[in-house]
């Protein structure tokens, strides 16, 4: 699993280059997100388009990554695939995060 970052419209886009975020890699993901987003723009978009599956550990790691950013920064999610979207919806975490259907939608969304 690797994370790669680019920047667009003033936001940092972190792409998850893995097909899953699950119990076996949740801790590594959280640590990698910490280093990847240690400093940078206030708005971070996590591009999940390659991720086919997350379990509750993966969800927890994404929540942890958001908390690591702190109150003044924001973690938005882009391109969740159907199973990933389902896990967010069933846990009502889709009310906590902004989920955008595509990376383009996320990048062009206005900050509120």
């Amino acid at each position: 699993m690797s994370l790669t970052s680019t920047e667009a419209n003033g936001a940092q886009i972190v792409t998850v280059n893995a097909d899953r975020i699950d119990a076996a890699m949740a801790i590594q993901f959280k640590e990698d997100m910490r280093s990847e987003t240690e400093s940078g723009p206030d708005r971070v978009i996590l591009d999940l388009s390659l991720v086919q599956f997350i379990d509750s550990s993966g969800l927890g790691a994404i929540v942890a990554a958001m908390k690591q950013l702190g109150r003044d920064r924001r973690l938005d999610l882009a391109g969740p695939t159907p199973m990933v979207e389902k896990v967010f919806r069933l846990t009502r975490m889709d009310t906590i995060f902004n989920l955008y259907a595509s990376l383009n939608d996320a990048v062009s969304a206005n900050n509120t």
């Binding site: 076996a24 927890g60 958001m66 908390k67 389902k86 896990v87 846990t91 009310t95």
Partner: protein
Amino acid sequence: MAETFACSFKATEQGARSCISAVMQQLRDIDLPVNRAGDVQIALAEAVNNIVEHAYSDLSDGEIYIQCDLSPDELQICISDTGPPLPNGELPVGLPADISGPMETLPEGGFGWHLIRALTCRLHYERQADSNQLSLFFDMQAKQN
């Protein structure tokens, strides 16, 4: 007509991954309806992860045994392990996580049983001799969640 298969795996995080993929592949091979596969995979992953994390936390070589029975109306997945019994010998209620507080207090875990309950139509747990038997039932005729 019911299709059945059984397999077993080491109760480690890597074992859990192989287990879930192998079971899902075998279910696809016996024509698990595509629109039910997502629900099954999520619930199965949560149940198996619980066993890896809790049932065998002190042991290095526990095994998980899985048997699946698929009929047109229902899929039953029976998962057994030889770890300690569930607390009070009962299935957890699986309340939804409390996400109402400030950002710093958002939970990073504890979602598993709620997900399992949301995705299955029935659960059954019993303790037999030294093993836990957890059955997940999925309605094959229902729309996905």
